[in-house]
Symmetry: C2
Subunit: 348 residues, 2 copies
DNA sequence: TGTTAGCACTCAATTCTACCGAGTGCTAAC
DNA sequence: GTTAGCACTCGGTAGAATTGAGTGCTAACA
């Protein structure tokens, strides 16, 4: 995996007021038009009472300091990752529009179903709100206590182990015995499993029976199967919404392909989101996140907590020239509502 | 939904041998090169001892009869949907290559985990084998008998209803009571639910208790919740693999976007696959499947059965100029292996 | 010293033109 | 029925000319 450590976001020095204004104008304009921005455009749109020549000489400095770049000699300027970073760091928090606020409210007022369904639909919502691809991550239940476990017989050789965790998640594992098992034995094994496991977490050590009869063997197998899952953070879920937006956001077909290919690898996506969160960031721009194939992307994340501890995140993936203000506001609003949703009426 | 009935596939009349050869040559060449095919190319590649002029006059006929089309006057010919249809109908069954056969074998020899995992991974496999986007559909358990149902207390007001079906699937539904429920009451409700539901199918009528105590209310709610799911064919699962292949298969960014947008709507995909299967087809080309946005696509499907009755399908989605022979062979091989996998060692 | 008007210069993008050539349809001869 | 021959069509390409947005530099100005 071609990962590198995430760059310090605060490495952007401060710019004097006029340079900052010019940089901001360039970023805004470029986000709007997707075109290189010229000095005269900046002189016109920004409210600096300055001629284009002055803007030009400032731009030379900004370029030398790495905030702007020139695609070719006779073109305008384009923001670099560092330029976007400065812009984002100095962005005052945006607010979500009336209509969108309403849409979010309506959604959470009407959403039904299990956690998984809610997360999946939230992902679609976030994508619709922003026109970017959205990622919703629900963290695993590795640290949740087991509430109940049950062994169900499918046929003489096959049993299904169903486990319910305190966070409301349910897992199933099929077991294949090398001998025929009676219903009575399954019931007894189920009883013993409950006695052993209820209240424990997945990686806890439990005392399994050492006898060699059917029931004991079954119990041992069940516990082993269950514990084998613990390290893989089983239950970590990813919901990706609006992957078709990728085709809108990027122009090169090849770029689209690469981004889609990344999104297919859900583990990668989870670790990407997790990394960004671990660094305490809410936005990773261009090469900041260290994923080669995503250099032309920016990723916005907002954590979701349940009962105060982190238990997931919502994210947005767009081009580096994305509408940071709106997108960040939407992500924040949705993550807040999601947090509230799970803390509140519905139990997660 | 802009659906239309599927066209009869057998509406292609028969062509004389030479026309058939020419048509086939055009299709093969066009699939290979993505370019319009000229008469001289056909005269050269096909083993007809005929001049290009003869081919040309035959092509005029083929065009008049709707098998070929001309992008513009001075270009070669391109197959129409009808042309592809004839080609596919007269295609002798292809075989999968050595390496691919091996890859499939290895996959099914090593695949682990629950049905869902197997299906998801199968989808990825099929996509890798063919370089097309793959769809794996697992049909719901609406007709499966209930093996076990269990009510678990999350807290005083929230209970989780976990149901195991004979096909090995598990559902969960959370219930919210308007009153506090004790653990004893939950256990009793769970016991009663088992007595009521075990052995029934989802849409069966059962006699619920009419009393008004906590337990009876809980039981009623649980049954109602469960039965509310029956008509929605709950449990129908779609796994889409290799959506990034869409960006390779189609050139227009807009087409890519449209196809991705369709793939996002999983219900649509299921009904598409189902429709094609219902018509007894294994390939739907261009407008045959009646989905406007997918006119430039062909869809290949192959049914999967468990214990003899249909329980899913694998599918491939590519451009109309896809490699039918290879793709159909791969789909068939994978669906056969999948069928065997579920009938055999592992219980589904 | 910072700002600005003026100006020459650069270079991608656009337009125009000519032309090539793959491919066609037609016809006359075999 | 087949084919060689031929005039014709028209998309694609290559080159030249043009355009114009934008730059950097310089000299004058406040």
């Amino acid at each position: 995996m071609a990962r590198r450590s995430i760059r310090q976001p605060s490495s952007t020095d401060d710019l004097d007021a006029r340079k900052a204004t010019i940089l901001e104008a360039v970023v805004r304009e470029h986000i709007d038009t997707a075109q290189p921005v010229g000095s005269s455009a900046v002189a016109a749109t920004s409210h600096l009472a300055v001629s284009s020549a002055t803007v030009r000489s400032e731009m030379v400095t900004l370029e030398r300091e790495g905030y702007l770049a020139q695609p070719h000699t006779s073109a305008g300027r384009v923001p670099t990752d560092k330029g976007y970073r400065y812009f984002v760091d100095h962005l005052q928090a945006g607010v979500v529009g009336e209509a969108q606020q309403q849409q979010i409210k309506d959604f959470f007022a009407n959403v039904r179903g299990e956690v998984e369904d809610v997360l999946a639909q939230t992902s679609t919502l976030l994508s619709q709100l922003t026109s970017y691809t959205s990622v919703v991550v629900g963290t695993g239940h590795a640290q949740s206590a087991i509430l109940s476990t049950q062994l169900v017989s499918l046929d003489a050789r096959h049993q299904l182990l169903v486990t319910v965790f305190a966070d409301g998640s349910v897992t199933k594992h099929s077991l294949l015995s090398s001998f025929d098992v009676s219903h009575v034995e399954v019931a007894e094994a189920s009883r013993q499993l409950n006695a052993l496991l209820i209240g424990t977490v997945l990686d806890a050590r439990v005392q399994v029976p050492s006898r060699n009869d059917h029931v004991a063997t079954l119990v041992r197998e069940a516990v082993a199967t269950l514990h084998a899952q613990a390290p893989t953070l089983d239950g970590e879920q990813v919901f990706i919404g609006g992957s078709s937006k990728v085709a809108e956001a990027f122009d090169g077909v090849e770029t689209v392909r690469q981004v889609l290919a990344i999104l297919e690898q859900e583990l990668l996506v989870v670790s990407l989101v997790q990394d960004i969160l671990d660094q305490g960031l809410s936005v990773a721009i261009g090469s900041e996140h260290g994923f080669e194939p995503l250099v032309s992307c920016a990723v916005i994340v907002a954590p979701v907590t349940i009962d105060g501890h982190p238990s997931g995140a919502v994210g947005l993936l767009g081009p580096t020239r994305m509408k940071y203000s709106e997108a960040m506001a939407a992500a924040r609003a949705v993550s807040a509502q999601l947090t509230q949703h799970f803390d509140g009426d519905d139990r997660a």
